[in-house]
């Protein structure tokens, strides 16, 4: 019986923690969804892409494949950078908003330590 009560107490604490970090959970969920969208986007639009289709008669096939691969990696890299930027920005905004609410600091530029 005690074990069941313990499990329920732990579950309650877990739910309370999740409710407390709702903003952070939302950010994690958005990052996760963007990861899935990114994979689909790369597969549908970037995967079948041909980098230099109009010049196909002037260059050997191996060269075209090489350039195409590099272009694909660059586009995927740019998507990852945008993804990381959004992630960083959203976490920073969440943090400084929460700090502002609790400590009453005007913005990110003000220093201080609570006591």
């Amino acid at each position: 019986m005690k074990i069941i009560t313990d499990i329920f107490t732990k579950l309650k604490l877990l739910l309370a923690d999740l409710r407390r970090n709702l903003g952070l959970l939302l950010i994690i969920s958005i990052i996760w969804v963007l990861l899935l969208i990114g994979i689909l986007f790369l597969k549908v639009y970037i995967g079948p892409m041909q980098a230099i289709p109009t010049l196909i008669n002037y260059f050997p096939a191996a060269f075209i494949d090489f350039v195409t691969s590099i272009v694909k990696v660059i586009i995927a890299g740019i998507y990852v950078l945008i993804w990381l930027y959004l992630w960083n920005r959203s976490v920073r905004t969440y943090f400084w908003r929460a700090i502002k609410k609790y400590y009453g600091l005007p913005d990110e530029t003000q220093n201080g330590a609570p006591e």
Binding site: L13, L14, D17, L18, R20, N21, L24, L25, I28, S29, I31, W32, L35, L36, I39, L40, L42, K43, V44, G47, V73, L84, W87, N88, V91, R92, Y94, F95, A98, I99, K101, Y102, Y103, L105, E108, T109, Q110, N111, G112, A113, P114, E115
Partner: protein
């Protein structure tokens, strides 16, 4: 091996890991204390002394128990994969041990840990892509991308990132061990759900799950032992190796998101690898009532602990519990990711 036998051996490995850890950990704590290997628990008002480098037990038990599946498994490749796992974890652990004893630079450490992937790369070269598969499965699209050359470059980066991410989350009692129990538990479930079942993933996750469960018992608030870099780097390398050899790359990224957020935000806020002790400003402040508050200094590194405490100061066990709660949430997302990878595929 039949899935039912894989499950049976997973249970056996968990039990053996738990029993061995339960024997070794208390003995190791006594030995470390006797040899003066102690650290100060800075997040408590009375600053107690706690045994350091307790992660040696993780290294010993993980590598010892991993010998068992080498004996009972009937697949040569799985045997090689387990030997490679022992090599990767062993090298990362030894690097951590050197760091604990002599101190390595903040830039040198990730580079050396990346070197722990050498057994993985050599074995895969010798066994022609049978140790890990450089065409990973992605959610919704399956094996949608041909990234074999890029994957070889990503292996050392992945091992170094995983090891350092685990190392960086080890800030308060139970903040690393708690989430790691969840992570290895989720990897165990995902290895079983994977199509076909990832035998090496199941066996190695089971070992690490058992090991971390008992380590958490000693590392949670109030901690009797700290893992030290020897433990955290070994755990991180184990995580990376399981993800790569078990074909669980995307799932591991999703379940380890709290660790990745922590590492990424620290690197972004201090702009590079800086040793924790060299930060100009601390991310947290221990208040007179024993709670820990987030620093509002914009020069302080933006750690996950600081983000969680932004709303109000928290007690140490509450912080660790929040880390674990976030990891459980990410674990659910990781299982959905695996279902989207292996069970639901769009024909594009």
């Amino acid at each position: 091996m039949e899935p039912i036998w894989i499950c049976f051996w997973a249970v056996i490995l968990i039990i053996v890991s738990i029993v061995l850890m339960r024997i070794i950990q208390p003995w190791l704590i006594k030995e470390l204390r006797a040899k003066g290997k102690i650290g100060i628990d800075v997040h408590k008002l009375d600053k107690p002394e706690v045994a350091e480098m307790g992660g040696i037990s993780i290294l010993i038990v993980a590598c010892t128990v991993a010998v068992l599946p080498i004996i009972f498994t009937d697949l040569v490749i799985v045997r090689i994969q387990i030997i490679v796992f022992m090599g990767v974890v062993g090298i990362a652990g030894i690097i951590g041990l050197i760091d604990d004893l002599y101190g390595l630079g903040s830039k040198m450490k990730p580079l050396l840990v990346a070197g722990a992937s050498i057994p993985l790369l050599i074995a895969n070269f010798v066994y022609l892509n049978q140790i890990f598969y450089p065409w990973p499965d992605f959610p919704l699209v399956g094996q949608g991308f041909n990234i074999d050359y890029l994957y070889w470059i990503l292996v050392p980066i992945g091992i170094a990132m995983a090891a350092n991410a685990v190392n960086m989350i080890d800030v308060v009692n139970g903040s690393m061990s708690g989430p790691c129990v969840i992570i290895f538990g989720v990897l165990l479930i995902c290895s079983l759900l994977k199509q076909p079942v990832s035998e090496v993933g199941v066996l190695l996750s089971a070992i690490m799950f058992g090991v971390m469960l008992i380590f958490y018992k000693y590392n949670r608030f109030p901690a009797k032992v700290f893992s030290g870099d020897v433990g955290s780097l070994a755990i991180g390398a184990a995580l990376g190796a399981i993800a790569i050899m078990g074909g669980l790359e995307v799932v591991t990224i999703v379940v380890a998101m709290p660790l990745i957020i922590n590492a990424f935000q620290i690197l972004a806020s201090v702009r590079g690898f800086v040793e924790g002790k060299k930060h100009k400003s601390r991310p947290s402040i221990v208040k007179s009532d024993g709670t820990i508050a987030a620093s509002t200094d914009n020069k302080a590194p933006l750690t996950l602990m600081r983000i969680i405490m932004a709303k109000k100061p928290l007690k140490e066990p509450e912080i660790a519990r929040n880390f674990t709660s976030l990891t459980i949430f990410c674990g659910v997302l990781a299982i959905i990711t695996l279902i989207l990878t292996d069970y639901i595929k769009f024909t594009l």
